[in-house]
């Protein structure tokens, strides 16, 4: 996957966490993702279409998701409830939207977010994509963002 597609998601994730959660992220080493299992049990996913097609997934642990929701909502959810799920979906939405703004040349449209909760769930990226896993660490816990675009990305 072209690095020009990757960097906006790195920047967007950092920006969203800093702005909305007042939380600084430290970046780990991006790696190729070779299985369908997200790193953690809560996944916010959102599709992108346009001159290229792909998907971005934000993966959080249960406690990290609850903590993120607590900061956004200014009240602590008592469990991994619908408020937490909605909060994770909104984080995915903002990351995709902020990245899209840096990818104007691909004329992307962002879909509506979905959130999946549960250990051992699987998420399938477009079949001709090789997703990249972007790990981050933060004071509220580790976070991963997975980005995959179909390989027929046009030259811009």
């Amino acid at each position: 996957m072209k690095v020009e597609l990757l960097n906006p998601f790195l920047d967007a994730t950092t920006s969203v966490f800093r702005t909305m959660l007042s939380c600084e992220l430290s970046r780990g080493q991006p790696t190729l993702k070779r299985n369908h299992s997200p790193e953690y049990e809560v996944s916010g996913l959102i599709g992108l279409t346009g001159k290229c097609q792909g998907m971005v997934v934000i993966s959080l642990g249960r406690d990290t998701a609850i903590k993120a929701a607590e900061i956004l909502l200014d009240e602590r959810p008592d469990s991994l409830n619908k408020d937490v799920i909605d909060a994770v979906g909104e984080l995915a939405n903002m990351i995709a939207g902020a990245a899209k703004a840096q990818l104007v040349q691909f004329e992307l449209s962002v879909g509506l977010p979905s959130v999946i909760c549960g250990k051992n769930h699987s998420i399938g990226f477009p079949s001709n994509s090789t997703p990249i896993l972007l790990p981050f660490d933060s004071e509220i816990g580790p976070v991963c963002v997975e980005v995959g675009f179909a390989e027929n990305v046009p030259e811009n």
């Binding site: 920006s15 909305m20 200014d74 619908k82 909104e90 939405n93 939207g97 703004a101 962002v110 509506l112």
Partner: protein, 121 residues
């Protein structure tokens, strides 16, 4: 200060964030809607003094809501709060009739500054 603020977003999280910022800025009277269609119903049945709307929503978007409100002849201020940040999209929203625009992610201070600009106008 305006009568009532209509906050429209399909995300309950974002509605709470916006309402909290509105309350902090002195706008204590708010009503919510989860999509553009519901918002239009609320708008037509209430004395709304300000609309804060998301763009991308199921069941009628924020742009469509804006056009609907303007088609009613209303000049109520409409703020678009959205992830759509490209210039062409901003122009589209202005042409639809919005009053101001705030891109996500944003801080409470960002929203407060926008509201202060409106209330001092």
């Amino acid at each position: 200060m305006c009568a009532k603020v209509l906050v429209v977003d399909d995300s309950g999280t974002m509605r709470k964030i916006v309402i909290r910022a509105l309350n902090a800025a002195g706008f204590g009277d708010t009503v919510e809607a989860g999509d553009g269609a519901e918002a239009l119903t609320v708008f037509q049945s209430s004395q709304i003094g300000l609309v804060m709307t998301d763009w991308n929503m199921p069941n009628r978007s924020g742009i469509e809501l804006t056009r609907d409100i303007r088609a009613l002849g209303s000049k109520v201020p409409i703020f678009m709060i959205t992830t759509e940040a490209e210039k062409a999209r901003v122009v589209e929203a202005i042409q639809a009739g919005i009053t101001d625009y705030l891109t996500k992610p944003f801080t409470q201070d960002d929203l407060k500054a926008k509201l202060e600009k409106y209330t001092k106008a």
